[in-house]
């Protein structure tokens, strides 16, 4: 599991990418609940 | 044809009364070109390499600055509506406005540009290419610019909005205009660049006036 999170040392970049993408999607959906 | 020259002469007459506006744009162009060395340092080879891009960007900014005036005054005092219902076809009006805009901003910029090029120590043939690229490219800025100016009529923050709308569309002219001079500086024949500039002029002459007419009708409905 910790290997998965570490992503061979690139964890910051990989999870930084997917994390921000997820955040954008959440914000996009929240913007609908006016 | 008579309508075109009538409108063109009207635009030029009005501009002559407000010479300040026209000169402002020119002075802005010169100031911007002078700011870059102050920002990046006086190293001659660096400046020489930057020069085509800097002068061209100055031309883009000057165009964007001068465009909101294209239709705004006539829109505000109702002249634009009058011109729309007159016997003249709308494209003629728009082309006359574009021609006037180019004569009053694009052409002066192209003429002054070699002087700025000298400040950047550009060699003679590059100076010539710079002026040629601007002569061919600034009409494109006016063609597309008319569409931009028409779209923002009556909108808030028209100045900044015009810039936001037009600058992405100006990227191809910038790339090939500055690119032509850059090519010459590194020893490549710039004729391909000039061909593309010509093509861009042709394409923008279709898109720009069409969009401007459509946008004017939308604004005055």
């Amino acid at each position: 599991m910790s290997e998965f999170l570490a992503m061979g040392g690139y964890g910051l970049y990989v999870w930084g990418s997917y994390g921000v993408a997820l955040l954008c999607i959440v914000l996009d959906v929240l913007s609908l609940k006016k | 044809m008579a309508g075109f020259s009538l409108l063109l002469r009207r635009e030029l007459r009005i501009a002559m009364r407000r010479r300040g506006d026209v000169l402002n744009v020119l002075v802005f162009f010169v100031i911007v070109a002078s700011l870059f060395p102050l920002g990046v340092g006086p190293e001659p080879s660096q400046l020489r390499a930057m020069a085509p891009g800097v002068v061209w960007i100055g031309a883009l900014l000057a165009a964007v600055l001068s465009l909101p005036r294209l239709f705004a005054a006539d829109y505000a005092d109702g002249t634009l509506e009058q011109l729309l219902v007159s016997a003249q076809p709308l494209p003629v009006l728009v082309l006359a406005k574009i021609a006037a805009h180019w004569l009053l901003s694009g052409l002066p910029l192209a003429i002054v540009a070699p002087l700025l090029g000298l400040q950047y120590d550009l060699p003679g043939d590059a100076l010539f290419a710079l002026m040629a690229s601007l002569l061919l490219g600034t009409p494109v800025l006016s063609m597309l610019g008319a569409a931009g100016a028409a779209l923002v009529l009556g909108a808030r923050a028209a100045g900044a909005l015009t810039a936001l709308l037009l600058l992405p569309l100006y990227v191809p002219v910038l790339i090939f205009g500055a690119g032509a001079v850059n090519a010459l500086l590194i020893g490549i024949n710039p004729s391909a660049h000039f061909s593309v500039l010509g093509a861009l002029l042709a394409v923008s002459s279709l898109i720009g006036p069409w969009a401007a007419c459509a946008a004017l009708r939308v604004a005055l409905d």
Partner: protein, 237 residues
């Protein structure tokens, strides 16, 4: 029959029933895509685990371009046929399109840093994505700055069409510019040879993104309809 759907009033409930289906499809496809991206796809020889970013970067870039064309299409339709709903659809799509453009740029930067050493490369495709973002923002800004919604729709439509025609010209220009200035630097597009697994993963994620975009756009157009038609009887009922 489809013509009946052209009225906001008729379209409103139809959109409402469609949204959960597209949402569910999006979630399912995303799960499948992420499974391929993280479990099935092997580690890359040169880039290690960092290359897994491709499964979000490339689909986002595809969607950003695809959505712009769809948006321009709706806008053009509204301009040609004078249908109110078409303009509303264009407005509904724009924020999601801009979002995907941003995701493509952000993930591109995070992919570039560990692989090529810099947060940004003036790679032809990334640079074109940046300009595409400006085109989206310009469209959104223009619509926001015009008070009359019908006028805003039609002005926006003209802008979107001009933009759509210019996108290939801009892309070609940036390609040209990039090849001339290419030094020893590498391009993010020179991805490892496209193995079937990778292609599958990217396609699944792209389809997921597409279903998501439809769901969100339908929801957003419902909001727009409610806002614009708020004086109509059928809304107040």
């Amino acid at each position: 029959m489809l013509y009946k759907l052209a009225s906001p009033q008729a379209f409103f409930p139809v959109a409402g029933t469609l949204i959960p289906w597209f949402g569910a499809l999006a979630a399912a496809l995303a799960l499948a895509g992420l499974y391929v991206a993280f479990i099935v796809a092997p580690t890359d020889a040169t880039q290690g685990e960092a290359y897994r970013i491709i499964f979000i970067h490339v689909p986002a870039a595809w969607m950003s371009m695809f959505l712009y064309l769809i948006m321009a299409g709706w806008a053009g339709l509204g301009l040609a046929l004078n249908t109110r709903l078409s303009g509303m659809m264009a407005s509904a799509i724009a924020p999601t399109g801009a979002m995907f453009t941003f995701i493509a740029l952000w993930t591109g930067a995070l992919w570039g840093k560990p692989t090529w050493g810099t947060w940004w490369v003036w790679d032809a495709r990334l640079t074109s994505e940046l300009i595409l973002l400006f085109l989206y923002l310009g469209f959104i800004a223009l619509k926001a700055s015009i008070d009359d919604p019908l006028r805003a729709d039609r002005a926006g439509a003209i802008l979107a069409l001009v933009g759509a025609v210019n996108v290939p010209i801009i892309y070609f220009s940036v390609q040209w510019w990039n090849t001339l200035h290419q030094g020893a630097s590498v391009s993010l597009t020179r991805a490892p040879a496209m193995a079937m697994t990778m292609l599958t993963g990217m396609l699944l994620m792209a389809l997921a993104a597409w279903m998501y975009s439809i769901a969100v756009s339908l929801a957003r157009v419902r909001n727009i309809i409610q806002e614009r038609e708020r004086h109509a009887q059928w809304i107040q009922a």
